[in-house]
Amino acid sequence: MDVTETMLPGVGLRFDFTLESGRRVGIVAHRTGRFEVAVYSREDPDATTASLALTEQEADVIAEILGAARIAERFADLTKEIPGLLSGQVEVTATSPFAGRTLGDSRCRTLTGASIVAVVHAEEITASPAPGHPLRAGDVLVVIGTDEGIRAVRALFSG
């Protein structure tokens, strides 16, 4: 999908793209932090038929929803393509030895062979976290590996 970026002097930026269904969508990022999502008219391709005005916060929530779904979806595709590869979720409990430490401290990959590809903290997702990434109680780790590997990660983090 090609996204075209256009400068709107004094207002902000506009991103527009065409969906597979043929509808054109434009997203205006206002300099004030507001967003506007508009759908272009079929009859008059320059004009919009509907638009949503989003506050900064609302835009964040929508981005989280779309982003989270897409990450999960991509893992599903990946694990389907390679036999034996699975994805799973492991929670960092309050009693976990690594709550309050960094991801690198767990030496997870070395010990289990499975990879932690994302850390979900509250509503914030960090994709491919660095070894220095802090882990807190309640975080959820998205793990990719064999069935055995994922079980080992779970054991490692529950201490």
């Binding site: 400068m7 004094g10 207002v11 300099r31 506007e36 008059d44 320059d46 919009t48």
Partner: protein
């Protein structure tokens, strides 16, 4: 509040109580107009202008107690208006716009300043008056246009970058035009005007350069966690610079605009957030005050001329918008909308009209005043119904659906 101040404000029958009552009523009236405008989806600026005409000099209620205060507030209004116009731009945006839509800016100048110049000449106002009226007819109102775009849900439209580009180029051009015309109308010689032009170009370049180079320092100088601090610092700097440019016989508006241009990034963001409510209040008073100081009786005789000039420049602005939007690849309907949005004239034209009147070109000032009021009222309507108005121009295939 100190006790003395409370006493002064509350002293029965004093001039200040008349001021408070009148000003309070004025604000309520403006609020009511804003509500009406919102209800009917029209821009509120023309309503302020017409309300100003109805009150004040030659109107139904002359507002004797608050006239002086309102004219002072109006001065603050134009300064704040220009500051926020400047805050919207960055040097980078301007250069990119110039590269992309430079030719459209030139077409805009020739097509729209031209009729004003010719009309000024025909009115016998001499080359000076002609140059002033050219400025009045040239520049669209960024305030009204951006408002119209957002009210009509057209920000995301394909033709909108063309409209915004024209507005940017005009606003920057004004930073050079205003000081020149101010010096000339103030009785300056050609060489002084040339000096003013050079100074203005130099100032714009210097501001663009220094704001990029000293951005950190500038930001530190204005940004604070405390909103009040930001407001006081930015307002203080702006008024100081505006006052100094006024002393130099350039318009105070130019100084305020340059300050806005100098502030970028986080500083601009904070300044905008803190000053927008103040800007809204004082800008409303600026538009109102323009109407207040105009006697409707003076306008009647010049109205035919103003309306005719308005008619011509509605068409020339439509052509400008058509051309600029075509460069962005917009369809005929988008091009009509772009032209329509640019029709409204406003703050800059009012400034130039005011300068002309102050300089003793009274008849020209009256024509310019009538012209601005006509186009401020007609402009948003043309913007809204541009496609319907231009329907005969469209090929049947483009209109279908």
């Amino acid at each position: 509040m100190p006790v003395e101040a409370v006493r002064a404000a509350g002293a029965p029958g004093s001039a200040s109580s008349t001021l408070l009552i009148e000003f309070g009523l004025v604000l309520l009236a403006l609020g009511l107009l804003g509500m009406i405008a919102r209800r009917f989806g029209v821009s509120v600026v023309p309503l302020y202008l017409v309300a100003g005409l109805a009150f004040g000099a030659g109107g139904v209620a002359p507002l004797p107690g608050s006239a002086a205060f309102i004219s002072g507030a109006a001065e603050l209004g134009i300064v704040l208006l220009m500051l926020t116009v400047g805050l919207e731009f960055t040097g980078k945006e301007f250069t990119a716009t110039l590269r992309r839509q430079g030719p459209a800016g030139l077409v805009d100048l020739v097509l729209n300043a031209g009729p004003g110049f010719v009309a000024g000449w025909l009115l016998g106002a001499g080359w000076l008056g002609a140059c002033a009226l050219a400025g009045v007819t040239w520049v669209s109102s960024s305030g009204i246009a951006v408002q119209v775009l957002s009210d009509l849900g057209r920000i995301a439209n394909r033709e909108t970058p063309a409209v915004l580009s024209i507005l940017v180029l005009e606003d920057i051009a004004m930073a050079v035009y205003l000081p020149v015309i101010a010096v000339l109308l103030g009785g300056g010689e050609w060489w002084q005007a040339a000096l003013a032009a050079a100074a203005a170009v130099g100032a714009v370049l210097a501001v663009a350069w220094s704001s990029a180079r000293y951005q950190d320092r500038l930001t530190r100088a204005v940004v604070s966690d405390d909103d009040e601090q930001v407001m006081l610092r930015v307002l203080g700097i702006t008024l100081l610079v505006a006052g100094l440019t006024q002393v130099l016989e350039a318009s105070a508006a130019v100084g305020a605009f340059l300050v806005g241009l100098a502030l970028t990034g986080r500083a601009a963001e904070r300044a905008r957030a803190v000053l927008t409510p103040l800007r809204n209040l004082f800008a409303a008073i600026f538009f109102l005050s323009f109407g207040l100081s105009t006697d409707p009786a003076d306008l009647l005789p010049v109205l035919p001329v103003a309306a005719a000039l308005g008619g011509v420049t509605v068409v020339t602005k439509m052509v400008t918008g058509w051309y600029a939007a075509a460069r962005e690849g917009a369809s005929p309907r988008g091009r009509l909308r772009a032209g329509g949005t640019l029709v409204a004239r406003g703050e800059f034209s009012i400034l130039v009209a005011g300068l002309a009147t102050t300089a003793g070109l009274v008849e020209l000032g009256a024509v310019a005043t009538g012209y601005v009021i006509v186009l401020a009222v007609v402009g948003p309507l043309v913007a809204r119904f541009a496609v319907d108005l231009g329907r005969p121009l469209l090929r049947p295939s483009a209109v279908a659906g």
